[in-house]
Amino acid sequence: MVSIRPEPVTVGGVPLSNHILLAAGILGTTGASLSRMLNMGAGGVVTKSIGPLPKDGHSGPCLVVLEDGLLNAMGLPNPSMEFVDEITTLAKKPVVASIFGGDPEEFATVAGWFSGKVAGIELNLSCPHAEGYGAAIGSDPALVKACTEAVSRSGVPTWVKLTPNVTDITAIGKAAEAGGASAIVAINTVRAMRISTGLRRPVLGNRYGGLSGSAIFPIAVRCVYELYEAVDIPIIGCGGIATADNIVEMMMAGASAVEIGSAVYDNVNVFEIIRKELYAKDGVRHEEIVGCAHG
């Protein structure tokens, strides 16, 4: 396997202690939990998505564990503005605030709460199961551009997380780039459903949900590969990454860094485990392999 030289990196304007971030919506509800993941080897952490008003989320079941993935519909639960207090102890750490809103103004407002308090903002334009938010906006290139502009104009590093649940993800990626995004994060979960045959109804309280984990890794690789050919800003690969070799593969597709989420289900120590395997002093610089599978 290819090893990578361990060195601090800056991706999309955000300085990271390594290439592997904790993905949004995973163990990111409290400052203490984010801090724990940084201490356990994450190169950066993305918070739970924060919106303009507190939300309780969908009624349960909110998640089921499948053979090779997780199916969830949380419904964007979040404490809204109160969350800013959660991360005061993490000032100057590689923390990226994930935010959502219903329109460009709401995105600008929520991003403003975190001004000077985080290293960057990640726009959730991709949650597949929250009405009026997330993918409802993220599948419309004009809205993606407008929401990205509303946040990037303040000068804060602005990452845009894309949904794979569109016909052409490159059109959305280009819209984010045109709106001033510093990086693209691809992908969020794939819209999915399972039904309890015993209870004769969908297993999720919200009926529809998003699939993550190993099952969607090939979809994520394909999306990153397509985006690498379409945009010039860095891409952060996300979706089913569970091993060091998965990271190398994502980098070869075009990712400059990666986010890991569902793999914490198998082992909460996944960052430390992968780091040990991925990095070696005599390894290649990551620039040598990013996008090398193209051409």
């Binding site: 163990l27 349960g60 079941p61 564990v65 969830n72 404490p79």
Partner: protein, 262 residues
């Protein structure tokens, strides 16, 4: 991503169980027996899905029962169900109580549910059972059959007039190798203060209740301060020394993640 523990299920899709019998335990608490049974360790929990309503974490009181006090939408809907009705169950999840040979168990209210299976495992020397009033004492007969039970009621209708913590004053706590506690958090905090005073916090274990969404250690909604540990996966049973100087007994978070004081 194979399940590394838990009852047999197809994938991790909730197991469908059928309610076979409902027993009124106290004026406010009922036990729902179901089939098929679920293998678990005392202190582990399951996610109980009341179809069309919600899914909530709950202790098993035996391999085929949950014991329920109405506290919200899902438990209220459960209370309206009948034999023949179906539920979904995921789990068991979490760590459970550490095994001991001379265990002191301390139960408050519906907190007796997870301790009943521990008592039936024949390792509990003494069990302190507390409730608001005599009629709310849970599982008294069953517990009496398998261990030495001491009683306290808030109103003095049975046993010691006062809190379950007062019963601890007459015991030599050093006799026990483990102290297993489950009950209202204010009561558990008082128990922790008492065992810590005697330098025994490391021998004590507390079963925590927090709002949960995923139940499997992924979403982060049940993480406790300041450790960031997950109640659903790293707990729900935590050693007392780990809970000192924590949010335990002071505050918890609601469904949105906002802090609310106890």
């Amino acid at each position: 991503m194979r399940r590394s523990w838990g009852a047999p299920m197809a994938d991790g899709i909730p197991l469908t169980v059928t309610i076979t019998r409902i027993k009124k335990e106290t004026p406010n608490i009922r036990t729902f027996f179901f089939e098929p049974p679920i293998t678990f360790n005392p202190g582990q929990f399951v996610m109980v899905w009341v179809p069309g309503v919600d899914e909530i974490p709950m202790a098993l009181s035996s391999v085929n029962s949950i014991t329920v006090q109405v506290v919200g939408d899902a438990t209220a809907a459960l209370a309206g169900m009948f034999p023949g009705d179906r539920l979904g169950i995921r789990g068991p999840y979490g760590n459970g109580f550490t095994k001991g040979e001379k265990v002191l168990a301390i139960a408050g209210g519906v907190g007796a549910a997870p301790l009943l299976s521990l008592a039936k495992a024949d390792c509990v020397m003494t069990l302190l059972l507390g409730a608001r009033t005599e009629t709310e004492l849970l599982f008294l007969d069953q517990l009496d059959e398998c261990t030495d039970v001491l009683i306290a009621t808030d109103d003095g209708t049975m046993g010691l007039h006062g809190f379950v913590t007062s019963l601890m004053d007459d015991l030599n706590l050093a006799t026990y190798d483990r102290i297993a506690v489950c009950g209202p958090e204010i009561m558990m905090r008082a128990v922790l203060a008492k065992v810590a005073e005697k330098g025994l916090a490391h021998k004590s274990e507390f079963s925590l209740h927090r709002y949960m969404k995923c139940g499997v250690g992924v979403c982060g909604s049940c993480c406790i301060d300041p450790s960031g540990l997950r109640v659903c996966r790293d707990g729900p049973v935590f050693p007392g020394d780990l809970l000192q100087k924590s949010e335990f007994g002071h505050y918890m978070r609601d469904a949105s993640g906002r802090k609310k004081n106890l």
